[in-house]
């Protein structure tokens, strides 16, 4: 289950979506807004998405997880808009019969989101702001010539 929202994320709610009688493990990842980057103090962050492409790519990540691992549940929620420091920007919950699948699938999902989902983060500093993202590393699904 995929969700992109301007509302505050609730990790317990996302986790509840993957509860399953056959699940012996539930892994929850929370990505939070950090107060520094490369030694510079960050005051606030802002997330922007290209919708509905971002929703579709997030669905793709969830499908890839289900294809690669034997899971009993996947839920992903991504926050948009302006966030204060220490807020949750991403919550991924994964359940599986045994812990290895859930751990591995959860780790994969976060890397994959940072690779293909059209969502952008802007960091606000004292006296400046910058969109995060590396042109050199960006090649989603190998489309660049």
């Amino acid at each position: 289950m995929i969700e992109i929202t301007h509302d505050e994320l609730n990790a317990a709610e996302v986790e509840a979506r993957v509860r399953h009688p056959g699940a012996g493990a539930i892994v929850v990842f929370v990505g939070a807004t950090r107060d520094n980057t490369a030694g510079r103090k960050v005051l606030a962050l802002e997330y922007e998405a290209y919708r509905p492409m971002a929703d579709e790519q997030l669905e793709r990540v969830a499908s890839e997880m289900q294809e690669r691992w034997d899971l009993t549940g996947v839920a992903i929620a991504h926050r948009l808009g302006r966030l204060d420091i220490g807020e949750a920007s991403l919550v991924v919950a994964v359940s599986s019969a045994h812990r290895k699948e859930a751990f591995d699938a959860c780790h994969f999902s976060v890397d994959r989101i940072k690779q293909i989902v059209p969502i952008w983060k802007k960091e606000y500093f004292e006296g400046g702001e910058v969109w995060v993202g590396s042109q050199a590393d960006f090649d989603p699904i190998g489309v660049r010539p």
Binding site: Y50, M53, V117, P118, W120, D139, V143
Partner: protein, 80 residues
């Protein structure tokens, strides 16, 4: 043919707009679209480095566009 191009994040700020309409020739590709946009908007990365989505799917530069397509220039993503 008319192609709508959406710009996001850093590209939107460079262009000063989130949306452009291009008039391209039938048979034109994503590569032609990228060249047209970089000619219109100074300050973007070189055309051959641009990542483009067409109708919500990433497409390579050989992809042939159709009238009415919705394209988007996708800057390096940074969600999570």
């Amino acid at each position: 043919m008319k192609i709508t191009v959406y710009l996001f994040a850093t590209y939107r700020e460079i262009a000063g707009t989130g949306r452009l309409t291009l008039d391209l020739a039938p048979g034109d590709t994503v590569a032609s679209l990228a060249s047209s946009v970089t000619a219109l908007v100074p300050g973007l990365p070189p055309a051959d480095r641009l990542v483009v989505a067409v109708n919500n799917e990433y497409r390579d530069h050989d992809f042939i566009l159709s009238d009415g397509d919705e394209a988007a220039l996708i800057p390096p993503v940074s969600g999570g």
